[in-house]
């Protein structure tokens, strides 16, 4: 550690000023839009926003989908992560690489794939028609189901990564020991695996939840204007109605959500370090 | 300046935030002297060394080296070498390039010859092309030493030079440092928390405590005549009691007489140490450590025996604390 504070400050200032001027300032002004009225400061914009049934629908849909995606990815994530850590080291590394691979691929490309699969003439409809289960293609695209599937595919890797690293830190013999003591798999999960990987679950869950909450591409491509989520609603309000007050309210909701999730993560991380 | 104060610290005060690490320290180091800064962790010995190196800026006071005031000079302009406790070799450079590093910056001629001569001093000419990571701890330390020596510094500072080495290497390195010092006549200051290292290696020991000098003197002076309870404790006196004059009396374990005397104590621990047997006694005077030749009668744990702390084998301390 060097002593000279002035040099230290001079080195961080460009980055700090850059981030402050380009991020905090404009975003701060945007957030203040909702509080400013012609007569002064007020919270009425929030009341008006939530009074609209459409906005309510979008708000609760976003919450619902994000929660659902986090919950389902936790279930699949536990199964997949447990399978991965039970592999021998070399194939474990390879499998981990395969699971994280999708994160490198453009979300546009990943979401686009579902158009091919879920579209009216898509893969799924073809199979269903060929099997005689349905007569005419059903609508899957532009439904909540499509958005849900897209989000799940987008964010599941984050959950698996978090759970795999949590499981790798688990005492090696915990599960066999519980099995020897006569616990069945359900008991092993509730009494051993879940408590020992809770941190990984919270981290993964937070990442998936905030990711889904603030997703744009997936609801835009797979949900369209029929299944709006907060970000697509924001885009629509601005481009269609030039409604910056609504945009400001949505921005506040999204930032508060992401920020509290981030704080939670940070608290967990420091709690782990001090232990 | 004379040879008596080749390095001279005057009224040196250093602080980290609000904690004073070194408090108004005065110290003179002779030319060609091998001096040890000794003390427990937090006593300010490392801080003092870093102030000589120029890695820390004093809050007040001055540092003079060879008659020049270097207090405000950066490390690069002080002509001081420093062998780090971690060796701090540059991992991306070969052994040769590590040693050549400072010479290259100075654009010295005959670089190859000088580097190889430096490696020769520490017996590592065959390792010139290796990477630091391929070397053992002892070899890394010698590279670090060579890297400093080729710069011909006026003062060579060494931070805990023996602490990371095993017992055999420690002896080897000790001999090596003494040889280098003899051959080059360089002034060396090393920092250690280990009194035996200081006693074995240094011409003069500076014992530090709470940012100030507790006692300075030759190994014999400090070992035989500590001035305070702290110094005595550091020099291996295990039994320290107050005397009538407000000072103290100190006995080494070997100075305690067992089997007779005015005091009584219960044996709490006993262990065999080759030619001597070591005992721990619990008595009205406190815990007493004693060791006696194995030829004397043997006591068992739990036994209560008489013992004596003879006045004539005690060392008088000016201060008890």
């Amino acid at each position: 550690m060097f002593e000279n504070r002035a040099i230290g400050l001079a080195l961080v200032l460009p980055a700090a000023i850059f981030a402050a001027a380009l991020f905090l300032l404009p975003v701060g002004i945007l957030l203040s839009e909702a509080f400013r009225t012609e007569t002064g400061w007020s919270l009425s914009a929030y009341g008006e926003f939530f009074a609209s049934p459409r906005n309510q629908t979008v708000f609760f849909r976003t919450l619902k989908l994000a929660t659902l995606v986090a919950a389902v990815s936790a279930v699949i994530g536990y199964a997949a992560a447990f399978a991965i850590v039970s592999l021998p080291p070399t194939s474990r590394g390879r499998m981990f690489g395969l699971v994280t691979l999708p994160l490198m691929i453009s979300p546009v490309a990943r979401t686009y794939a579902w158009l091919v699969i879920l579209g009216r003439t898509g893969f799924v409809n073809q199979i269903l028609v060929d099997l005689g289960l349905i007569e005419t293609p059903i609508r899957i695209l532009f439904t909540e189901t499509a958005v849900f599937i897209g989000l799940l595919q987008l964010f599941l890797p984050l959950m698996i990564i978090s759970l795999v690293s949590a499981m790798e830190n688990m005492p090696r013999d915990a599960v066999p020991a519980a099995r020897i003591l006569g616990a069945n798999w359900l008991q092993v999960f509730w009494k051993v695996i879940l408590p020992l990987t809770r941190e990984g679950l919270v981290i993964g869950g937070t990442l998936v939840f905030t990711g889904s909450m603030t997703a744009y591409i997936t609801p835009a491509i797979l949900g369209g204007s029929k299944v709006l989520m907060l970000e697509t609603l924001l885009y629509q309000r601005v481009t269609v109605a030039n409604d910056f007050v609504a945009a400001s309210v949505i921005a506040m909701i999204l930032i508060v959500m992401s920020f509290s999730a981030n704080l939670l993560l940070k608290r967990l991380a420091t709690a782990r370090k001090s232990r | 300046m004379t040879n008596e104060n080749f390095v001279s610290l005057r009224d040196l005060t250093l602080a980290y935030d609000k904690t004073v690490a070194v408090d108004r320290l005065d110290l003179d180091i002779r030319k060609g002297e091998l001096i040890a800064l000794l003390g427990p962790s937090g006593c300010g010995k490392t801080t003092t060394m870093r102030a000589i190196a120029g890695l820390l800026t004093p809050r007040s006071g001055s540092v003079h080296i060879d008659g020049r005031d270097v207090t405000r000079l950066p490390p690069s302009r002080r002509e001081v070498g420093l062998v780090f406790q971690s060796y701090a070799l540059f991992p991306h450079l070969s052994v040769f390039e590590n040693v050549a590093f400072g010479l290259r910056l100075r654009r010295e001629p005959d670089l190859d010859a000088k580097v190889m001569a430096g490696l020769e001093t520490v017996g590592l000419t065959d390792f010139a092309k290796r990477q630091p990571a391929d070397l053992s701890g002892g070899q890394q330390q010698r590279v670090s030493l060579a890297r400093s020596l080729v710069m011909h510094p006026k003062v060579l500072l060494l931070d805990e030079p023996l602490s990371n080495l095993d017992a055999r290497l420690r002896l080897e390195m000790r001999t090596e440092l003494q040889r280098v010092q003899r051959e080059t006549g360089i002034t060396m200051v090393f920092v250690t928390h280990d009194q035996s290292e200081a006693l074995a290696l240094a011409d003069r020991i500076v014992l530090m405590r709470n940012g100030a000098i507790e006692q300075a003197g030759t190994a014999e002076e400090i070992y035989n005549a500590p001035v305070s309870g702290f110094a005595a404790d550091f020099m291996g006196f295990e039994t320290i009691l107050p005397n009538e004059a407000g000072g103290g009396l100190a006995w080494r374990p070997g100075a305690v007489v067992l089997g007779s005397g005015p005091h009584h104590g219960e044996i709490r621990g006993a262990s065999f140490a080759g030619e001597r047997r070591e005992y721990v006694l619990e008595s009205a005077l406190g815990t007493i450590k004693a060791d006696v030749p194995v030829s004397l009668p043997r006591y068992e744990i739990g036994q209560t025996i008489a013992f004596d702390l003879p006045r004539e084998t005690a060392v008088e301390l000016a201060r008890l604390d």
Binding site: F2, L9, V12, F18, F23, M104, A113, E231 | S144
Partner: protein, 259 residues
């Protein structure tokens, strides 16, 4: 129950879900037909060739490349000194600075894009291109600072001090000792920044003008009008590009150590 078998069944299903769609895209892109479909109608490479002939793709690819390369470089120019200061100096208000620098990760991109458009581009008359560049730089900055800080923390401070003792200035010690030893971290930060910027959509949504769009935005716009497999072909190409870069990075510098 055979646990080995169930392990592979679970992993098979998971990978099918995660990677299957991507394989379907490749298959659909190889179609000889004119409509997006799976299974493909005949095999051909024509859509892969078509991609290179679409003028807007070529332009937006250039825009995205420029942003990813120079945005990341700019983020590193700002981020390396900041990371150095935060790992080596006692910076007054270090926590606040950290929070400010990492804020672009916390604030959803779409909001940043909108805020920049509304309160930076429009009132100050700044060009969309410059705003895009600055937005991407700011977006990558937190990654750059984080990854570079991590490798600086692993580098012992006493090496720099040793260099100072041997005659280096502080900047010289940074250049000769710190930089060569954090090369891997800097490269990792560059790759992470590049991929993040290249795939980024929300920040760029509001920051596009006529003839100035990033590639992902352009792809979304194209697929809203056309239903041919060229976007599939382009998606496949981009995916291969990203995967190739990341794999090469893993092989040569061990990317996963830094991220």
């Amino acid at each position: 129950m055979n646990s080995r078998l169930s392990t592979w069944i679970i992993l098979g299903l998971t990978l099918t879900f995660l990677i299957g769609p991507f394989l379907i895209i490749i298959a659909a892109a190889l179609s000889a037909g004119n409509n997006l479909a799976f299974p493909p109608q005949g095999l051909s490479l024509k859509w892969f060739i078509k991609v290179f002939e679409v003028e807007s793709f070529r332009a937006s690819f250039g825009v995205s490349m420029f942003l990813a390369i120079f945005g990341t470089l700019a983020a590193l120019v700002l981020g390396i000194p900041a990371a150095y200061a935060m790992t080596r100096f006692k910076v007054p208000g270090a926590e606040t600075v950290k929070l400010i620098v990492s804020s672009p990760i916390i604030v959803p991109g779409i909001i940043v894009g909108l805020a920049l458009l509304q309160y930076f581009v429009i009132p100050l008359g700044v060009g969309i291109g410059l705003a895009l560049f600055l937005a991407h730089t700011a977006l990558i900055l937190p990654y750059a600072v984080r990854v570079v800080s991590a490798s600086m923390e692993n580098l012992r401070v006493d090496m720099e001090e040793a260099a100072l003792m041997l005659g280096c200035t502080r900047f010289g010690a940074f250049r000769r000792i710190v930089l060569p030893n954090i090369r891997g971290g800097v490269l990792a930060a560059f790759i992470l920044g590049f991929v993040t910027s290249f795939n980024q959509v929300p920040v760029s949504l509001f920051l596009s003008g006529p003839g100035l769009r990033t590639l992902p935005i352009d792809m979304i716009a194209y697929m809203e009008i056309n239903y041919d497999p060229s976007v599939a072909a382009l998606s496949a190409l981009l995916a291969f590009m990203s995967i190739g870069i990341v794999f090469a990075a893993e092989r040569f510098i061990g990317l996963s150590r830094y991220v």
